[in-house]
Symmetry: C2
Subunit: 390 residues, 2 copies
């Protein structure tokens, strides 16, 4: 087990109706003026935004608003948010929505404390030292941004999608009511299931010896998501299934499922380039297409870890042929993704074949890095994974 | 899944040599004068206290000291600590030791902000509203007090042992170096394993339907402790085994393994009376004697949960006789406790038979409460568990 820092300061208010407390929660923290940040319609249509405003009004909390966040949130809107936050001197940014809204809020939060573009943080030219606190009311179980230290933004001038991690990216608090995810479409529910699984899969499949407690938690989470996902896809208003997915979304990306292990998340890195170049592609759908091809190349480097995954998550019956058991496990996950209506090739997602080389090149930050994990992903390997996923 | 608040603000510095950072960590938080609180010798003999002082000196941090904490920490020392903390205006209490030192520090921390005895918090006559922050360098994996919201103190005038929970009881940060537990005796290692397991067992065996993610995490933690415990007892300097036990100690009592479930911890409540009346009895040893007898009475109320425990933690091979499988699982845990050299009867622990009725009466707070969990523990049930554990 390697040394680690575990820092999960986000206070979670989990369960039915918890968003009704938003006014009193914000008041208790002592904030007087906040920014409401949201997307393009669902929080308006559902009435959630109206309810939040009413609760803030009741508690005498002032607010300004910035809606319009796109999936794969754009730098151009972040810059508007930075201007607004500075001008209005907001004390808290409340993200109401999913991972995109949260990440947009996080970028605004650090951008509001500097006199340059927060894109400098995304491309690691600068490290944030201060921020406006961010909190969330989550409406989709997927990105785990409600507890994570990560923030991923797309530069809509260059089509580059870049993430940076910082402990300042941890939310102050997050309100998680599974009922708010009842209206998430089947496709978006599927994308969320993939994203949640992938945050743990990419931690679990990493270098080094077994770390039993962390491994057991990782596999237990994957199994819970696998089971709850099957139910939620068929019964979108099944509370317990939605609750399992929502809580897993948080734990999968807050550091718990990789504690004591190094992690690189190679498949995430490749996918960020795919949905950076093709912003219409949902992150989870891109991951679903890429992971199986990565896994087929990686499993020889840690067969024991893949075997546990096959047996304990995918329910493969052990045979004498361990290689087959591993490949059956990978195939079973691919089949599961199909059941979730996930496209499992880049082709289906609309990626053009003649952009694969550029995607591989971008993954290597144009030749500036190599991803060293259980297999080294360099330009050639990235290209091979992209081609095999096509 | 029931609504819950999840609040784990404690920042964890985990791994080899992490205590070397103590000076810079305290400095980074901005504290200038702190109290060092510790027990009766091991942190002195090991050189840890000297090292901590040197690191604080290097960083220009002033400190006052209060040693002498006993296992089952006493109110009389807490009161001395309150006086010292007030007089010296300390800004942080750094507990160096195990759960007893931590709980003593937590009681001082809330006591220093009021003009009455903090025992009033323990007996729930008052609720703490403010505190001096508490941090820890942990030297034994057991109580989970480094991340928990609980604090248990013994009133050495009345021999009452009482716990209270408060979010103010969460440490600001905790330093966890598994190497510091190499010198923990076999007996104390065993007690710690039992205590860690029990914090999760008493959450897992609770009312309500399955909560798959939380249940999987709980069972995965129990299995990891079971495996690592076997190794650590035989190889006290096995880093990975000590690391698994230490990390499990924290996660087992920070709320993770019971998220979304109600919990009562009936066996803990009975044991607090046992080691309250007999302060020489280690908490873990008391739990080891009591739990199997509670379990034999409780399993009919949630057989499915006991079956998962038997199969997934204790490794019982499924048969057609589910009752037998459950009882075999309970018996297997008892056998495991014996392998850890734990006394498995109250008699062996030195409890006198003519005090069992008083212990049952005290558990009910002298007739003022009944513990409603998967089975209701009233006076008669508590007495029966005590008698059968004798």
């Amino acid at each position: 087990m390697i040394n680690f820092i575990y820092n999960t300061p986000t206070k979670i208010f989990f369960g039915k109706g918890e968003e009704d407390k938003i006014g009193s929660i914000v008041k208790e923290y002592g904030f007087k003026k906040i920014m409401l940040h949201y997307g393009k319609g669902s929080v308006i249509r559902s009435g959630l935004l109206t309810k939040v405003k009413a609760k803030l009004d009741e508690n005498g909390i002032e607010y300004v608003e910035l809606g319009g966040v796109d999936p794969n949130p754009k730098l151009s809107l972040v810059l508007k948010g930075v201007e607004l936050a500075k001008k209005e001197k907001v004390e808290l940014i409340l993200a109401i929505g999913g991972g995109s809204v949260l990440d947009s809020a996080k970028s605004i939060a650090v951008g509001a404390k500097v006199d340059f573009s927060p894109w400098e943080f995304s491309i690691k030219n600068a490290t944030p030292k201060d921020h406006i606190p961010v909190a969330s009311i989550l409406t989709i179980a997927a990105a785990g941004s409600d507890m994570s230290n990560s923030c991923v933004i797309t530069n809509d001038e260059t089509n580059e999608k870049r993430g940076f991690t910082s402990e300042l990216n941890r939310c102050l608090f997050s309100v998680l009511n599974p009922e708010l995810t009842y209206t998430v479409s089947k496709f978006q529910t599927g994308c969320g299931i993939v994203d949640t699984m992938m945050h743990t899969l990419e931690r679990y499949f990493s270098v080094g010896p077994a770390t039993e407690l962390t491994d057991n938690i990782a596999l237990g989470l994957l199994k819970a998501v696998y089971d709850a996902g099957k139910v939620a896809i068929k019964e979108p208003e099944n509370y317990d299934a939605r609750a399992e997915l929502m809580w897993a979304n948080s734990l999968s990306h807050n550091g718990l499922t990789g504690a004591g292990r190094p992690f690189v998340m190679s498949v995430h890195q490749i996918e960020h380039e795919v949905s950076g170049m093709y912003p219409e592609i949902a992150h989870g759908a891109g991951l679903a297409a890429l992971w199986p091809q990565w896994a087929m190349k990686a499993y020889k480097a840690c067969p024991d870890r893949f075997l546990r995954f096959s047996y304990e998550v995918m329910g493969i019956t052990p045979t004498d042929n361990k290689t087959k058991d591993i490949e059956d496990g990978i195939q079973a996950l691919k089949t599961y993704f199909k059941e979730l209506d996930m496209p499992v090739t880049l082709h289906e997602l609309g990626v053009k074949e003649d952009t694969l080389e550029a995607l591989a090149y971008n993954t290597m930050f144009k030749g500036k890095r190599v991803l060293k994990d259980i297999i080294t992903v360099d330009y050639d390997m990235a290209l091979q994974i992209l081609k095999d996923s096509f």
